[in-house]
């Protein structure tokens, strides 16, 4: 149907924002296409938000629904906080990709389909009823359908290369990328740079990819069927320098920044697990920042090695996801008893047990706050977006080091893999971090005779914040023994004394409670200081809640939004804030864990909006939830 002809004049329409979803086989290079187009738009100045959605299998069988990989991108000339509830454009490389994602396309939306991916085999694998081809039957009449034989066109564009058929077909995604860049009036410069750099060492592939990219672009220019291009103007973002960042990158960079600011080596002990592994990968590429990465034999060894490193005077960090964090409970109790700095990151995924490894969820909050034996309160933080992952990771390091305590940081698969533009700070503007090191001392006189009046070093003697001194092996005159058995106040010697146990239990708890004194006063994200509904969010629900609240406010409703970043101890202003609204709504990707905590703490009859589907909230789900409350 499409044949190449001489260019014809085309019109360009302006769009405020666009949601586009690329979908195909895990082998089709969808993630690359998506992330590259994201970069182009970001660099152009759009605000962007993305949602990569992988299959659980490494490479599920080609053409099957299980094998579909997707990458959703929302870019706009206005603020963008989510990857978008529904798509304007759906690009599908085969039948399964269409079947799996059509429900995400808005009515009247555009479909760009690779017709070659709709042969009888693909249709059967995708499970289309008696193999009716949706591209040819009338089933897609409510959409704007462009059926393009991307495979053939790509091969054509590579005719004069010596590549085999297989390699040629691998460039399909470049053709798509070229075409989409044309469709949204983007130049190919950045993408070309990326390709050149990626295939530096493989001139043949470099050449092929550039050709396919250009072919796709030209195809848009020349093809009959595409008469209009679209343009999304830059977003009015605050002045500054920007880059794109995913949540896992944010955490890795935040940890390094924290360690650097504290002047500490960063020791990262961890065991691979989806979706936390990328933090390990990122850190292992940055050893020149005095980063030491240790792939331990299991999660217990991972956290224990980190505790050992902190004992040795470095910043010990470990990360995992739900099942791995469950294994760290006992050692976390030790770190709490030792009162050593430690950062524990949980990139949450669908649970319980192995659950849904590649999907997102927020159901590990209780585990973070209560998942240990004995009275062991530990500060718990939650990041609300990819960029916030950087902020919170840095905050976690600061609290852990300055208060000599393990700190848990919660992220989740959604923000861990999702990307957004980040107005990155300058190193000099980051807050300082001061380790409470003890001061080494002489124990003998010049002749080496023990000093008479030397009083014994007290490793558990606390400062005004209840923080003990950090005496590191190698420091002269500060030898001491620590362990997991209850300690005598100040000396740290083993003590079974009942009163001492009560005292130490209190002192450890108070130290952690005092951390709330360091928080900034609580701040609404948007909305009135008092009113009908306060939506209390935490973690990755931020974007959806923020978008929904803005809509609700535009609709004239009295709705405010606060996003909690400190899950324990809570911000002191929170109790007062909750009381200033008729209703409190708590959207969570779990069955109501924060809700339980707030009810217990403030006796507030908060309402829950709970989604446990391994998928993030859409902003409309939140909006509807709030409306139901308003109409109560």
């Amino acid at each position: 149907m499409d044949t190449i002809q001489t260019p014809r004049p085309k019109t360009t329409e302006i769009r405020e924002n666009v949601v586009i979803l690329f979908a195909g086989d895990s082998g089709d290079g969808i993630q690359l296409t998506g992330s590259q187009f994201t970069e182009s738009n970001a660099l152009f100045g759009n605000d962007v938000s993305t949602f990569p959605n992988y299959p659980a299998e490494i490479r599920a069988p080609q053409g099957t629904l299980a094998g579909v990989s997707g990458y959703q991108l929302h870019f706009g000339s206005v603020d963008v906080f989510t990857p978008g509830d529904v798509c304007d454009v759906l690009v599908v490389m085969n039948a399964a990709a269409l079947k799996a994602n059509l429900n995400k396309l808005k009515h009247g939306g555009t479909i760009i389909a690779n017709s070659d991916g709709f042969d009888t085999k693909n249709l059967r694998l995708a499970g289309y009823p008696d193999i009716e081809n949706p591209l040819t039957d009338q089933s897609l009449d409510n959409y704007v359908l462009h059926s393009v034989d991307i495979t053939k066109l790509t091969r054509l564009s590579l005719e004069d290369t010596s590549l085999g058929m297989k390699e040629k077909d691998r460039s399909k995604n470049m053709f798509v990328l070229g075409f989409i860049n044309w469709m949204y009036s983007r130049s190919l410069e950045r993408t070309k740079l990326f390709i050149e750099n990626k295939f530096k060492t493989k001139p043949e592939l470099l050449d092929a990819n550039l050709k396919a990219l250009q072919a796709g672009y030209n195809y848009g220019d020349t093809s009959e069927t595409f008469t209009t291009r679209y343009e999304v103007k830059p977003a009015p973002m605050p002045k500054g320098n920007y880059r794109n960042i995913t949540g896992n990158q944010g955490i890795a960079i935040g940890l390094i920044a924290g360690a650097q600011k504290a002047g500490l080596e960063l020791f990262y002990g961890s065991y691979p697990i989806t979706p936390a592994s990328d933090i390990l990968h990122e850190l292992s590429r940055n050893k020149h920042f005095d980063v030491k990465t240790f792939q331990a034999e299991d999660e217990i060894a991972a956290i224990c090695s980190a505790i050992g490193a902190s004992y040795g005077g470095a910043l010990g960090v470990t990360a995992s996801s739900g099942p791995g964090i469950a294994l760290k409970g006992e050692a976390l109790g030790l770190a709490f008893m030792l009162e050593l700095p430690l950062v524990v990151v949980n990139v949450q995924r669908g649970g319980p047990s192995t659950g849904l490894p590649t999907k997102t969820e927020q159901a590990d909050l209780w585990q973070a706050i209560h998942g240990r034996n004995g009275e062991a309160p530990i500060p718990v933080l939650a990041a609300s977006s990819p960029t916030d992952c950087f902020e919170m990771a840095f905050e976690a390091v600061k609290l852990a080091v300055e208060h000599m305590t393990p700190v848990i940081l919660l992220s989740d698969g959604y923000i861990a893999n999702g990307a957004e533009p980040w107005r990155f700070p300058e190193a000099k503007d980051l807050r300082p971090i001061k380790p409470p090191f003890a001061t080494p001392r002489e124990t003998t006189d010049a002749e080496g005779n023990p000093l008479a009046d030397l009083e014994t070093f007290l490793p558990y003697d606390r400062d005004e914040n209840g923080v003990r001194p950090w005496a590191v092996p190698g420091m002269k005159g500060l030898q001491h023994r620590i362990g997991g058995i209850e300690k005598e106040d100040k000396t740290g010697n083993i003590s079974y004394d009942p009163q001492n146990h009560q005292l130490m239990t209190r002192l450890r708890a108070e130290k952690v409670e005092r951390i709330a004194d360091t928080y900034r006063p609580i701040r609404l994200d948007s909305g009135p200081e008092s009113g009908d509904v306060l939506i209390v969010g935490w973690g990755s629900t931020y974007g959806a809640i923020r978008t929904a609240t803005q809509v609700l406010q535009k609709e004239g409703h009295s709705v405010a939004h606060v996003q909690l970043r400190h899950m324990f101890p809570f911000n002191k202003g929170l109790g007062g804030l909750l009381k200033r609204y008729k209703h409190v709504l708590i959207p969570e990707m779990n069955s109501g864990q924060l809700r339980q905590l707030l009810r217990a703490e403030y006796l507030v009859d908060a309402h829950g909006l709970n989604k446990v589907q391994g998928m993030p909230f859409t902003s409309d789900e939140i909006r509807v939830g709030a409306l139901n409350l308003l109409n109560k």
Partner: protein, 344 residues
């Protein structure tokens, strides 16, 4: 490693003991091990603050409290992981790990074998009393089959580990055995362990006189010791029974021969070579039940030594190399990343 330190004016041995009262049962084998360790520390006279003892949980693991060095009494079985992290960031201290047969071979087994393959530079003292002492007498992974304990009233049905065979299987670079009742030999083994760069695995037979008294009697008591033990020394033939008997290799099978009775001459005997991995894997398997007649004697001494690189040297080398290649980390560069755009 301590051996590499300039020996400062040696402090008196007493210096190394802490102000904490030792709380093992009267008569416990742990006392003599503590004594020898203190004396070995005194040999190098390494400043106290440069020494770290890390233990798990168990009677034996109380050890660190009794020395005025740095010390951590951690959690059950995890000392190897904690020590690995600590060593990774402290390449210059003298690090000792104290553990029991339950602590390191039951709950801590995985950490131990990974410690050994990584060859983290520290000295492991495995107090093997073939019982769980602190929890009052359940059988351990080294208790013999049939052992009647509080958890096995009808006798244990588990085949026990041969601890050093397991360590050899995990590619340990230093493997040795000694006993609480032979201070001189124990001291020597401690010095050898301390001198080795890498994970030094020293198994120490230790008598738990409350829950497993006499477990090693045949090896430790005058009457039976000579017949039932062979003390190996590098380059020397395997002689025992005060030199009247020896061990010879018949093909690949070790057999005891009576030299005195002229069954063989000293020249025929197996000559110990610490560096021979194949021989070592057989030596650690000389583990017959001494109650069986014709059982081979139990070997003591240093069985195997290998100079494989240590974990922390390579780890530090990579950090150095990374700095050399990329220059010391520039935080602003990291924050900027590859693709920056500017607004306004």
């Amino acid at each position: 490693m301590s051996t590499l330190q300039p020996a400062a004016p040696a402090p008196k041995k007493i210096d190394y003991s802490s102000d904490q009262q030792v709380r093992w049962c009267p008569g416990c084998g742990d006392y003599s091990i503590l004594k020898q360790v203190e004396s070995v520390l005194a040999v190098h006279g390494r400043p106290k603050e440069e020494i770290v003892f890390i233990s798990g949980i168990g009677c034996s693991s109380r050890f660190p409290y009794y020395l005025d060095t740095y010390g951590m009494h951690s959690i059950h079985g995890r000392a190897p992981a904690i020590a690995s992290g600590m060593r990774s960031v402290q390449p210059n201290l003298s690090v000792w790990m104290i553990t029991g047969d339950g602590d390191s071979l039951s709950i801590g087994g995985n950490h131990l074998i990974h410690l050994l393959r990584r060859n983290v530079d520290l000295n492991v003292l495995l107090f093997n009393n073939e019982i769980y002492g602190l929890t009052k007498g359940q059988y351990s992974p080294t208790s013999p089959e049939g052992a009647v304990t509080r958890s096995t009233p009808m006798g244990s049905t588990d085949h026990p580990f041969n601890p050093l065979a397991l360590c050899k299987g995990a590619d340990a670079t230093f493997i040795a055995r000694s006993m609480d009742r032979d201070p001189k030999h124990l001291r020597e083994m401690l010095l050898r362990a301390d001198a080795h760069r890498g994970t030094s695995m020293l198994e120490i037979y230790q008598n738990c006189n409350v829950f497993n008294d006499g477990a090693f009697e045949v090896f430790t008591e005058k009457a039976s010791k000579a017949e039932h033990t062979v003390f190996v020394e590098n380059g020397k033939p395997l002689l025992f029974a005060n030199g009247t008997k020896g061990i010879k290799l018949d093909g690949m099978t070790p057999v005891a021969v009576d030299i005195a009775a002229g069954e063989a001459s000293v020249e025929d005997l197996w000559v110990h070579d610490e560096r021979d991995s194949f021989k070592a894997s057989i030596l650690v398997r000389l583990f017959d039940d001494p109650r069986q007649k014709g059982a081979l004697p139990r070997p003591f001494g240093v069985f195997y030594v290998n100079d494989r690189h240590t974990h922390e040297t390579k780890m530090n080398a990579q950090v150095a190399l990374a700095k050399q290649k990329k220059g010391p980390g520039d935080l602003d560069a990291l924050l900027r990343g590859e693709n920056v755009w500017t607004i306004g």
